[in-house]
Point group: C2
Chain length 258, copies 2
Protein backbone atom coordinates (compact mmCIF):
# COMPACT_ATOMS: atom_id res chain seq x y z
CA UNK A 1 0.00 0.00 0.00
CA UNK A 2 1.08 3.57 -0.72
CA UNK A 3 -0.02 6.38 1.61
CA UNK A 4 0.49 10.11 1.19
CA UNK A 5 0.74 12.29 4.31
CA UNK A 6 0.18 16.01 3.70
CA UNK A 7 0.92 18.90 6.01
CA UNK A 8 -0.59 22.37 5.48
CA UNK A 9 -0.01 25.46 7.58
CA UNK A 10 -2.51 27.76 9.20
CA UNK A 11 -2.14 30.16 6.26
CA UNK A 12 -4.07 27.68 4.05
CA UNK A 13 -6.69 26.82 6.66
CA UNK A 14 -7.37 30.43 7.56
CA UNK A 15 -7.81 31.73 4.00
CA UNK A 16 -11.13 30.66 2.47
CA UNK A 17 -9.96 31.11 -1.12
CA UNK A 18 -6.68 29.24 -0.63
CA UNK A 19 -8.49 26.48 1.31
CA UNK A 20 -11.03 26.02 -1.50
CA UNK A 21 -8.27 25.69 -4.10
CA UNK A 22 -6.25 23.32 -1.93
CA UNK A 23 -9.32 21.20 -1.05
CA UNK A 24 -10.19 20.66 -4.73
CA UNK A 25 -6.61 19.63 -5.54
CA UNK A 26 -6.28 17.45 -2.42
CA UNK A 27 -9.61 15.71 -3.12
CA UNK A 28 -8.26 14.76 -6.56
CA UNK A 29 -5.17 13.03 -5.12
CA UNK A 30 -5.68 9.29 -5.61
CA UNK A 31 -5.15 6.61 -2.98
CA UNK A 32 -5.04 6.56 0.83
CA UNK A 33 -4.02 9.90 2.33
CA UNK A 34 -3.83 11.79 5.59
CA UNK A 35 -3.87 15.57 6.15
CA UNK A 36 -2.30 17.40 9.10
CA UNK A 37 -3.00 21.11 9.58
CA UNK A 38 -1.94 24.05 11.72
CA UNK A 39 -3.91 27.15 12.71
CA UNK A 40 -1.62 29.29 14.80
CA UNK A 41 -2.42 32.75 13.44
CA UNK A 42 -6.10 32.37 14.24
CA UNK A 43 -5.28 31.01 17.71
CA UNK A 44 -3.17 34.10 18.46
CA UNK A 45 -5.97 36.34 17.20
CA UNK A 46 -8.54 34.66 19.47
CA UNK A 47 -6.14 34.88 22.42
CA UNK A 48 -5.89 38.64 21.89
CA UNK A 49 -9.68 38.97 21.56
CA UNK A 50 -9.98 37.26 24.94
CA UNK A 51 -7.40 39.52 26.54
CA UNK A 52 -4.67 36.88 26.62
CA UNK A 53 -1.10 37.67 25.56
CA UNK A 54 0.30 35.06 23.14
CA UNK A 55 3.72 34.02 24.41
CA UNK A 56 5.97 32.28 21.91
CA UNK A 57 9.45 31.00 22.80
CA UNK A 58 11.55 29.86 19.83
CA UNK A 59 8.42 29.51 17.72
CA UNK A 60 6.58 27.36 20.29
CA UNK A 61 3.48 28.64 22.07
CA UNK A 62 3.65 28.66 25.87
CA UNK A 63 0.37 26.96 26.70
CA UNK A 64 -1.24 27.67 30.07
CA UNK A 65 -4.76 26.41 30.85
CA UNK A 66 -6.49 29.33 29.11
CA UNK A 67 -4.25 29.03 26.05
CA UNK A 68 -4.95 25.29 25.87
CA UNK A 69 -8.68 26.05 25.70
CA UNK A 70 -8.08 28.50 22.86
CA UNK A 71 -5.90 26.19 20.76
CA UNK A 72 -8.31 23.28 21.35
CA UNK A 73 -11.20 25.45 20.17
CA UNK A 74 -9.36 26.86 17.16
CA UNK A 75 -7.39 23.82 15.95
CA UNK A 76 -9.77 20.94 16.81
CA UNK A 77 -12.98 22.95 16.37
CA UNK A 78 -12.96 25.89 13.99
CA UNK A 79 -10.06 24.99 11.67
CA UNK A 80 -10.52 21.22 11.65
CA UNK A 81 -14.26 21.24 10.97
CA UNK A 82 -14.05 23.93 8.29
CA UNK A 83 -11.36 21.95 6.48
CA UNK A 84 -13.44 18.76 6.75
CA UNK A 85 -16.66 20.42 5.53
CA UNK A 86 -14.76 21.93 2.60
CA UNK A 87 -13.14 18.59 1.68
CA UNK A 88 -16.49 16.77 1.96
CA UNK A 89 -18.00 19.30 -0.45
CA UNK A 90 -15.27 18.25 -2.91
CA UNK A 91 -16.16 14.57 -2.57
CA UNK A 92 -13.26 13.74 -0.23
CA UNK A 93 -14.45 11.53 2.65
CA UNK A 94 -12.59 13.45 5.34
CA UNK A 95 -12.83 12.72 9.07
CA UNK A 96 -11.46 15.39 11.39
CA UNK A 97 -9.61 14.19 14.46
CA UNK A 98 -7.22 15.12 17.23
CA UNK A 99 -4.83 12.67 18.84
CA UNK A 100 -7.25 11.86 21.67
CA UNK A 101 -9.78 10.59 19.12
CA UNK A 102 -9.52 6.82 18.84
CA UNK A 103 -6.36 7.29 20.95
CA UNK A 104 -4.55 8.00 17.68
CA UNK A 105 -1.60 9.93 19.12
CA UNK A 106 -0.38 9.87 22.69
CA UNK A 107 1.97 12.70 23.62
CA UNK A 108 4.28 13.19 26.59
CA UNK A 109 4.08 16.46 28.46
CA UNK A 110 7.30 18.37 28.00
CA UNK A 111 9.37 18.70 31.22
CA UNK A 112 9.11 22.12 32.90
CA UNK A 113 12.90 22.60 32.65
CA UNK A 114 14.69 24.40 31.06
CA UNK A 115 11.57 26.19 29.78
CA UNK A 116 8.07 25.58 31.17
CA UNK A 117 5.87 25.50 28.09
CA UNK A 118 2.82 24.45 30.12
CA UNK A 119 0.41 22.01 28.43
CA UNK A 120 2.75 21.25 25.54
CA UNK A 121 3.46 17.70 24.47
CA UNK A 122 6.14 15.95 22.48
CA UNK A 123 5.29 13.00 20.31
CA UNK A 124 7.22 10.15 18.83
CA UNK A 125 6.55 7.37 16.36
CA UNK A 126 5.74 5.04 19.27
CA UNK A 127 2.86 7.33 20.30
CA UNK A 128 1.02 6.80 17.02
CA UNK A 129 -1.68 4.08 16.99
CA UNK A 130 -0.82 2.93 13.50
CA UNK A 131 -3.25 -0.01 13.35
CA UNK A 132 -6.27 2.22 14.04
CA UNK A 133 -5.10 4.80 11.49
CA UNK A 134 -4.90 1.97 8.92
CA UNK A 135 -8.40 0.79 9.90
CA UNK A 136 -9.78 4.27 9.22
CA UNK A 137 -7.98 4.34 5.85
CA UNK A 138 -9.45 0.87 5.15
CA UNK A 139 -12.92 2.37 5.72
CA UNK A 140 -12.13 4.72 2.82
CA UNK A 141 -11.78 7.68 5.15
CA UNK A 142 -9.24 10.51 4.95
CA UNK A 143 -8.05 11.41 8.46
CA UNK A 144 -7.60 15.17 8.95
CA UNK A 145 -5.49 15.70 12.07
CA UNK A 146 -4.91 18.85 14.06
CA UNK A 147 -1.98 19.20 16.45
CA UNK A 148 -3.96 18.70 19.67
CA UNK A 149 -3.03 15.40 21.28
CA UNK A 150 -3.48 13.82 24.72
CA UNK A 151 -1.48 12.06 27.42
CA UNK A 152 -3.93 9.15 27.76
CA UNK A 153 -4.80 10.26 31.30
CA UNK A 154 -7.41 12.84 30.37
CA UNK A 155 -5.11 15.76 29.61
CA UNK A 156 -5.06 17.40 26.17
CA UNK A 157 -1.65 18.69 25.04
CA UNK A 158 -0.64 21.23 22.42
CA UNK A 159 1.93 19.81 20.00
CA UNK A 160 3.74 20.82 16.83
CA UNK A 161 1.95 20.08 13.54
CA UNK A 162 5.18 19.45 11.58
CA UNK A 163 6.17 16.84 14.15
CA UNK A 164 2.70 15.25 14.01
CA UNK A 165 3.07 14.94 10.24
CA UNK A 166 6.55 13.48 10.48
CA UNK A 167 5.62 11.02 13.27
CA UNK A 168 2.47 9.84 11.48
CA UNK A 169 4.45 9.38 8.24
CA UNK A 170 7.16 7.37 10.04
CA UNK A 171 4.58 5.23 11.86
CA UNK A 172 2.71 4.43 8.63
CA UNK A 173 6.06 3.69 6.93
CA UNK A 174 6.29 0.57 9.10
CA UNK A 175 3.32 -0.84 7.17
CA UNK A 176 3.20 1.03 3.87
CA UNK A 177 5.18 3.03 1.33
CA UNK A 178 4.83 6.64 2.51
CA UNK A 179 5.32 9.98 0.81
CA UNK A 180 5.32 12.99 3.15
CA UNK A 181 4.25 16.25 1.48
CA UNK A 182 4.97 19.55 3.21
CA UNK A 183 2.87 22.28 1.60
CA UNK A 184 3.98 25.86 2.11
CA UNK A 185 4.04 29.28 0.43
CA UNK A 186 6.81 28.63 -2.11
CA UNK A 187 6.91 26.24 -5.04
CA UNK A 188 9.64 24.20 -3.34
CA UNK A 189 13.24 24.67 -2.24
CA UNK A 190 14.47 27.56 -4.38
CA UNK A 191 17.92 28.08 -5.91
CA UNK A 192 17.17 31.84 -5.89
CA UNK A 193 14.84 32.81 -3.05
CA UNK A 194 13.46 35.72 -5.10
CA UNK A 195 12.54 33.49 -8.07
CA UNK A 196 9.66 31.14 -7.24
CA UNK A 197 10.31 29.25 -10.49
CA UNK A 198 13.89 28.33 -9.53
CA UNK A 199 12.77 25.13 -7.82
CA UNK A 200 15.44 22.50 -7.16
CA UNK A 201 13.62 19.33 -8.31
CA UNK A 202 15.62 16.70 -6.38
CA UNK A 203 17.71 16.89 -3.22
CA UNK A 204 19.59 13.89 -1.89
CA UNK A 205 21.78 13.98 1.25
CA UNK A 206 24.89 14.63 -0.86
CA UNK A 207 23.15 17.42 -2.81
CA UNK A 208 21.95 18.85 0.52
CA UNK A 209 25.54 19.00 1.83
CA UNK A 210 26.61 20.84 -1.32
CA UNK A 211 23.65 23.27 -1.14
CA UNK A 212 24.53 24.14 2.44
CA UNK A 213 28.20 24.66 1.56
CA UNK A 214 27.22 26.96 -1.30
CA UNK A 215 24.82 28.88 0.95
CA UNK A 216 21.87 28.15 -1.38
CA UNK A 217 19.97 26.52 1.48
CA UNK A 218 20.16 28.59 4.66
CA UNK A 219 18.32 29.74 7.78
CA UNK A 220 14.96 28.12 8.53
CA UNK A 221 15.17 25.80 5.53
CA UNK A 222 18.11 23.88 7.03
CA UNK A 223 16.24 22.35 10.04
CA UNK A 224 13.22 21.71 7.78
CA UNK A 225 15.35 19.65 5.40
CA UNK A 226 17.28 18.00 8.23
CA UNK A 227 14.00 16.83 9.77
CA UNK A 228 12.84 15.60 6.36
CA UNK A 229 15.99 13.50 5.95
CA UNK A 230 15.49 12.12 9.47
CA UNK A 231 12.01 10.97 8.40
CA UNK A 232 13.54 9.35 5.31
CA UNK A 233 16.19 7.66 7.46
CA UNK A 234 13.30 6.33 9.60
CA UNK A 235 11.58 4.67 6.64
CA UNK A 236 9.59 7.36 4.80
CA UNK A 237 10.16 6.81 1.06
CA UNK A 238 10.29 10.45 0.04
CA UNK A 239 9.51 13.94 1.26
CA UNK A 240 8.02 16.50 -1.11
CA UNK A 241 8.09 20.25 -0.52
CA UNK A 242 5.69 22.28 -2.64
CA UNK A 243 3.11 25.06 -2.71
CA UNK A 244 -0.32 24.49 -1.13
CA UNK A 245 -1.79 26.76 -3.80
CA UNK A 246 -0.52 24.59 -6.65
CA UNK A 247 -0.84 21.03 -5.44
CA UNK A 248 -1.75 19.78 -8.90
CA UNK A 249 1.22 21.22 -10.81
CA UNK A 250 4.62 19.57 -11.24
CA UNK A 251 6.68 22.20 -9.45
CA UNK A 252 8.10 20.63 -6.32
CA UNK A 253 11.25 19.61 -4.52
CA UNK A 254 11.57 15.89 -3.84
CA UNK A 255 13.89 14.71 -1.09
CA UNK A 256 15.21 11.16 -1.37
CA UNK A 257 18.17 9.08 -0.35
CA UNK A 258 21.17 9.00 -2.71
CA UNK B 1 -26.79 -6.25 17.42
CA UNK B 2 -27.82 -3.98 20.30
CA UNK B 3 -26.67 -0.34 20.33
CA UNK B 4 -27.13 2.23 23.08
CA UNK B 5 -27.34 5.91 22.12
CA UNK B 6 -26.73 8.33 25.01
CA UNK B 7 -27.43 12.05 25.13
CA UNK B 8 -25.88 14.32 27.77
CA UNK B 9 -26.40 18.04 28.19
CA UNK B 10 -23.86 20.81 28.44
CA UNK B 11 -24.23 20.72 32.23
CA UNK B 12 -22.35 17.39 32.31
CA UNK B 13 -19.72 18.39 29.74
CA UNK B 14 -19.00 21.72 31.40
CA UNK B 15 -18.56 20.38 34.95
CA UNK B 16 -15.25 18.54 35.39
CA UNK B 17 -16.44 16.54 38.42
CA UNK B 18 -19.74 15.49 36.86
CA UNK B 19 -17.96 14.64 33.58
CA UNK B 20 -15.44 12.42 35.41
CA UNK B 21 -18.22 10.51 37.18
CA UNK B 22 -20.25 10.15 34.00
CA UNK B 23 -17.21 9.08 31.95
CA UNK B 24 -16.36 6.27 34.39
CA UNK B 25 -19.97 5.00 34.34
CA UNK B 26 -20.30 5.38 30.56
CA UNK B 27 -17.00 3.56 29.96
CA UNK B 28 -18.38 0.62 31.95
CA UNK B 29 -21.48 0.27 29.74
CA UNK B 30 -21.01 -2.90 27.69
CA UNK B 31 -21.55 -3.23 23.95
CA UNK B 32 -21.65 -0.79 21.03
CA UNK B 33 -22.62 2.74 22.06
CA UNK B 34 -22.77 6.31 20.81
CA UNK B 35 -22.67 9.54 22.83
CA UNK B 36 -24.20 12.87 21.80
CA UNK B 37 -23.46 15.99 23.83
CA UNK B 38 -24.47 19.63 24.11
CA UNK B 39 -22.47 22.61 25.36
CA UNK B 40 -24.73 25.62 25.19
CA UNK B 41 -23.88 27.35 28.45
CA UNK B 42 -20.19 27.54 27.58
CA UNK B 43 -21.04 28.77 24.08
CA UNK B 44 -23.09 31.64 25.52
CA UNK B 45 -20.27 32.49 27.92
CA UNK B 46 -17.72 32.65 25.10
CA UNK B 47 -20.10 34.75 23.02
CA UNK B 48 -20.29 37.28 25.85
CA UNK B 49 -16.50 37.27 26.31
CA UNK B 50 -16.22 38.16 22.62
CA UNK B 51 -18.76 40.96 22.90
CA UNK B 52 -21.53 39.03 21.13
CA UNK B 53 -25.09 38.99 22.47
CA UNK B 54 -26.52 35.45 22.62
CA UNK B 55 -29.95 35.52 20.98
CA UNK B 56 -32.24 32.60 21.77
CA UNK B 57 -35.72 32.24 20.27
CA UNK B 58 -37.84 29.47 21.79
CA UNK B 59 -34.73 27.80 23.15
CA UNK B 60 -32.89 27.82 19.80
CA UNK B 61 -29.78 29.92 19.27
CA UNK B 62 -29.95 32.40 16.41
CA UNK B 63 -26.68 31.61 14.64
CA UNK B 64 -25.05 34.31 12.54
CA UNK B 65 -21.53 33.81 11.11
CA UNK B 66 -19.78 34.89 14.32
CA UNK B 67 -22.04 32.69 16.46
CA UNK B 68 -21.39 29.71 14.17
CA UNK B 69 -17.65 30.15 14.77
CA UNK B 70 -18.23 30.18 18.52
CA UNK B 71 -20.45 27.07 18.63
CA UNK B 72 -18.08 25.23 16.28
CA UNK B 73 -15.15 26.06 18.56
CA UNK B 74 -17.00 25.21 21.78
CA UNK B 75 -19.01 22.13 20.73
CA UNK B 76 -16.66 20.47 18.20
CA UNK B 77 -13.43 21.68 19.83
CA UNK B 78 -13.43 22.37 23.54
CA UNK B 79 -16.36 20.21 24.74
CA UNK B 80 -15.94 17.33 22.30
CA UNK B 81 -12.20 16.86 22.82
CA UNK B 82 -12.40 17.16 26.60
CA UNK B 83 -15.12 14.51 26.68
CA UNK B 84 -13.08 12.24 24.41
CA UNK B 85 -9.83 12.68 26.40
CA UNK B 86 -11.75 11.94 29.61
CA UNK B 87 -13.40 8.82 28.15
CA UNK B 88 -10.08 7.58 26.74
CA UNK B 89 -8.54 7.91 30.21
CA UNK B 90 -11.31 5.54 31.42
CA UNK B 91 -10.46 2.96 28.76
CA UNK B 92 -13.36 3.89 26.46
CA UNK B 93 -12.17 4.06 22.83
CA UNK B 94 -14.00 7.31 22.03
CA UNK B 95 -13.75 9.16 18.72
CA UNK B 96 -15.06 12.72 18.70
CA UNK B 97 -16.92 13.83 15.60
CA UNK B 98 -19.28 16.37 14.10
CA UNK B 99 -21.70 15.57 11.30
CA UNK B 100 -19.27 16.78 8.62
CA UNK B 101 -16.77 14.12 9.70
CA UNK B 102 -17.09 11.07 7.48
CA UNK B 103 -20.22 12.83 6.19
CA UNK B 104 -22.05 11.27 9.16
CA UNK B 105 -24.95 13.71 9.33
CA UNK B 106 -26.17 16.00 6.58
CA UNK B 107 -28.48 18.78 7.71
CA UNK B 108 -30.76 21.12 5.79
CA UNK B 109 -30.50 24.82 6.49
CA UNK B 110 -33.71 26.02 8.10
CA UNK B 111 -35.77 28.38 5.87
CA UNK B 112 -35.46 32.07 6.82
CA UNK B 113 -39.24 32.31 7.34
CA UNK B 114 -41.02 32.66 9.74
CA UNK B 115 -37.87 33.16 11.85
CA UNK B 116 -34.38 33.56 10.38
CA UNK B 117 -32.19 31.46 12.66
CA UNK B 118 -29.14 31.94 10.42
CA UNK B 119 -26.78 28.97 10.11
CA UNK B 120 -29.15 26.54 11.83
CA UNK B 121 -29.89 23.14 10.34
CA UNK B 122 -32.61 20.57 10.71
CA UNK B 123 -31.81 16.91 10.45
CA UNK B 124 -33.78 13.79 9.74
CA UNK B 125 -33.16 10.07 9.80
CA UNK B 126 -32.35 10.19 6.07
CA UNK B 127 -29.45 12.57 6.75
CA UNK B 128 -27.63 9.99 8.89
CA UNK B 129 -24.97 7.88 7.15
CA UNK B 130 -25.86 4.73 9.05
CA UNK B 131 -23.46 2.38 7.25
CA UNK B 132 -20.42 4.49 8.16
CA UNK B 133 -21.58 4.80 11.77
CA UNK B 134 -21.82 1.00 11.89
CA UNK B 135 -18.32 0.68 10.37
CA UNK B 136 -16.90 2.88 13.14
CA UNK B 137 -18.71 0.76 15.74
CA UNK B 138 -17.29 -2.34 14.03
CA UNK B 139 -13.80 -0.88 14.54
CA UNK B 140 -14.57 -0.98 18.28
CA UNK B 141 -14.88 2.80 18.44
CA UNK B 142 -17.39 4.86 20.43
CA UNK B 143 -18.54 7.84 18.35
CA UNK B 144 -18.95 11.02 20.43
CA UNK B 145 -21.02 13.47 18.42
CA UNK B 146 -21.56 17.17 18.95
CA UNK B 147 -24.48 19.02 17.38
CA UNK B 148 -22.48 20.71 14.59
CA UNK B 149 -23.45 19.26 11.22
CA UNK B 150 -23.00 20.29 7.59
CA UNK B 151 -25.01 20.73 4.40
CA UNK B 152 -22.59 18.71 2.24
CA UNK B 153 -21.71 21.85 0.28
CA UNK B 154 -19.05 23.16 2.65
CA UNK B 155 -21.34 24.92 5.13
CA UNK B 156 -21.38 23.93 8.80
CA UNK B 157 -24.77 24.22 10.52
CA UNK B 158 -25.77 24.45 14.17
CA UNK B 159 -28.36 21.83 15.10
CA UNK B 160 -30.17 20.55 18.16
CA UNK B 161 -28.40 17.84 20.18
CA UNK B 162 -31.64 16.12 21.28
CA UNK B 163 -32.67 15.84 17.62
CA UNK B 164 -29.22 14.50 16.68
CA UNK B 165 -29.61 11.80 19.35
CA UNK B 166 -33.11 10.90 18.22
CA UNK B 167 -32.19 10.83 14.52
CA UNK B 168 -29.06 8.72 15.09
CA UNK B 169 -31.07 6.29 17.25
CA UNK B 170 -33.80 5.97 14.61
CA UNK B 171 -31.23 5.50 11.82
CA UNK B 172 -29.39 2.76 13.74
CA UNK B 173 -32.75 1.13 14.57
CA UNK B 174 -33.03 0.17 10.89
CA UNK B 175 -30.06 -2.19 11.42
CA UNK B 176 -29.96 -2.92 15.16
CA UNK B 177 -31.91 -3.00 18.40
CA UNK B 178 -31.51 0.49 19.84
CA UNK B 179 -31.96 1.95 23.31
CA UNK B 180 -31.91 5.75 23.48
CA UNK B 181 -30.81 7.12 26.86
CA UNK B 182 -31.49 10.77 27.70
CA UNK B 183 -29.36 11.77 30.68
CA UNK B 184 -30.43 14.84 32.62
CA UNK B 185 -30.45 16.35 36.11
CA UNK B 186 -33.23 14.23 37.64
CA UNK B 187 -33.37 10.51 38.32
CA UNK B 188 -36.13 10.09 35.72
CA UNK B 189 -39.72 11.20 35.19
CA UNK B 190 -40.92 12.03 38.70
CA UNK B 191 -44.37 11.48 40.23
CA UNK B 192 -43.56 14.33 42.64
CA UNK B 193 -41.22 16.91 41.11
CA UNK B 194 -39.82 17.76 44.56
CA UNK B 195 -38.93 14.15 45.37
CA UNK B 196 -36.09 12.86 43.19
CA UNK B 197 -36.77 9.31 44.45
CA UNK B 198 -40.37 9.28 43.12
CA UNK B 199 -39.26 7.93 39.74
CA UNK B 200 -41.96 6.39 37.53
CA UNK B 201 -40.20 3.21 36.35
CA UNK B 202 -42.20 2.49 33.17
CA UNK B 203 -44.27 4.71 30.90
CA UNK B 204 -46.19 3.31 27.94
CA UNK B 205 -48.36 5.44 25.62
CA UNK B 206 -51.48 4.58 27.66
CA UNK B 207 -49.72 5.42 30.95
CA UNK B 208 -48.49 8.67 29.33
CA UNK B 209 -52.07 9.67 28.46
CA UNK B 210 -53.14 9.04 32.05
CA UNK B 211 -50.16 10.97 33.49
CA UNK B 212 -50.99 13.97 31.31
CA UNK B 213 -54.68 13.84 32.35
CA UNK B 214 -53.68 13.72 36.02
CA UNK B 215 -51.25 16.62 35.56
CA UNK B 216 -48.31 14.52 36.83
CA UNK B 217 -46.43 15.11 33.59
CA UNK B 218 -46.59 18.74 32.51
CA UNK B 219 -44.73 21.63 30.88
CA UNK B 220 -41.36 20.84 29.26
CA UNK B 221 -41.61 17.13 30.03
CA UNK B 222 -44.56 16.68 27.65
CA UNK B 223 -42.70 17.47 24.36
CA UNK B 224 -39.69 15.48 25.65
CA UNK B 225 -41.86 12.38 26.14
CA UNK B 226 -43.80 12.98 22.91
CA UNK B 227 -40.51 13.07 20.96
CA UNK B 228 -39.39 9.91 22.75
CA UNK B 229 -42.56 8.07 21.73
CA UNK B 230 -42.06 9.31 18.16
CA UNK B 231 -38.60 7.70 18.20
CA UNK B 232 -40.17 4.49 19.49
CA UNK B 233 -42.82 4.62 16.77
CA UNK B 234 -39.94 4.97 14.28
CA UNK B 235 -38.27 1.77 15.47
CA UNK B 236 -36.24 2.59 18.58
CA UNK B 237 -36.85 -0.25 21.07
CA UNK B 238 -36.93 1.85 24.22
CA UNK B 239 -36.10 5.29 25.54
CA UNK B 240 -34.59 5.68 29.00
CA UNK B 241 -34.60 8.92 30.98
CA UNK B 242 -32.19 9.04 33.91
CA UNK B 243 -29.58 11.08 35.76
CA UNK B 244 -26.16 11.64 34.17
CA UNK B 245 -24.67 11.62 37.67
CA UNK B 246 -25.97 8.13 38.44
CA UNK B 247 -25.71 6.21 35.21
CA UNK B 248 -24.83 2.98 37.00
CA UNK B 249 -27.78 2.89 39.41
CA UNK B 250 -31.22 1.39 38.71
CA UNK B 251 -33.23 4.58 39.04
CA UNK B 252 -34.65 5.43 35.64
CA UNK B 253 -37.81 5.85 33.63
CA UNK B 254 -38.15 3.49 30.70
CA UNK B 255 -40.49 4.40 27.84
CA UNK B 256 -41.82 1.53 25.76
CA UNK B 257 -44.79 0.63 23.66
CA UNK B 258 -47.80 -0.93 25.41
Amino acid sequence: MKVKVFKIGGNVVENAELLSAFAADFAAVQGPKVLIHGGGVRASALQKQLGQVPNMIEGRRVTDADTLEVVTMVYAGLCNKNVVARLQSCGCDAIGLCGADANLITATRRPAKPVDYGFVGDISVEGVRTEMLLKLLDCGLVPVLCAINHDGKGQLLNTNADTVASSVAQALAQKAEVELVYCFEKNGVLRDKDDDMSVIPLITPSVFTKLKEDGVVADGMIPKLENSFKAIAAGVSSVVIKSAANLSNNLQTTLKND
